[in-house]
Amino acid sequence: MRAPFRTALLILPLMATMLLGACATAPDASDAEAVADFKATNDPLEPLNRAVYEINDGIDVVILRPLALAYRAVVPDPARQGVRNVLDNLAAPVVLANDMMQGKPKRAGDTLMRLVINSTLGVAGLFDVATGMGYPQHSSDFGMTLAVWGLFDGGPYLMLPLFGPSNPRDAAGRGADMALDPFTWIGQGSTVKALGYARSGSDAVDTRSRYIDEVDKLKAQALDPYATLRSLHRQNRKATIDEVIADDRGTAAKRR
């Protein structure tokens, strides 16, 4: 757990230096439409974000994408599905905590049943038995919880080193999710640490392997891949959150 913090300490001064003079230039105030566009884009740190995007993209091209390609080519599909199932099952406690904090009983129930069924019948999460039994998988995080509470809107666009597209609310949510994760506090020593790295690493590679074609296409077809990713991320995130907010299954609002 300490390693990400150390990385952050290394990156922070770098970011602070880049921040100086890294603000996007606002358009001429007399051009109302241009100003409206600028506000809708809500990316005041664009020059900095673009720099981080370039770094992330460089890491992706040199390390992550080749790993994901090899993973997809070498590991047979059922085994990759097993890896995904285990990772999802490990994430379930945090998803459950957020489902509960969001006040979504049906979603929380789905996650709880998944955790119980897949950890036992599913052999420590290797098989997803629960979906077939009517408990489908969904994701949830603390950024989403903050949005459901209606306390924070996302705020300006933020390109995080390594983690990618985000905003202040979701970035803070990431930290909270780490603190919520039981695997953050149980155990210590080098074995636990190694397992933690193995989990993060396989999560990154597996996730990336599922978007190889999409990302390739985006980079080939977009005139400005950074702006296209920004738009896609924002829209998708908003749709996901809207769907959670609208989900009133099992709540008092539904019964009325």
Binding site: Q221, A222, L223, A227, S231, L232
Partner: protein, 199 residues
Amino acid sequence: MTTRRRFLAAAPALFALSQVRPAVAADPDSAAAFVDQLLRELLAIANGSQTAAEKRGALAGVVEARVDLDAVARFCLGRFWRTATPQQQADYTQLFRRVLIKNISEKVGEYQGVTYTLGRAVKREGDIAVASVLNRPGNAPNKVDWVVEAEGAPKVIDVIAEGTSLRLTQRSDYSAYLARNGNNVQALIDALKQQATAG
């Protein structure tokens, strides 16, 4: 006699009129039927036994007929549509159509074996959104909304995949490109020209 002759003279015109679809606004039901038909056409091509090149050609034909390409093109240029000269508007629209059709038809292989279920059709901001779920073998199901124009003959004006609007994303791409190229529409046209001829 005269009445009868007049009627006979008018008959062909009446017949022709009855063949013309009334230009009334489409309702959710007819929009859903339109999307159903469109998906059938697309999947029939994708799963057919033609060569890849023939499939691309057939797919382009469907896109031309079923998508309001000119309206989508105008939307994607956003506020720059009005600052463009008529010549630039024409060049841009023509290139936009070529690039979009190229990008869509290149994907024809991916639609093999896809099945779909139609969801609800609802009015949305003057248009009609028809929900669907596409199932690609070996992939998680995809939620795709088809936005159909309510005015005139039904045509697709936007596709919303997993909450992301294709035309909105495209507009962001173009406007960012324009912002980095001095808001010069000609720069965008040149870039599209490259995209249209590449590959």
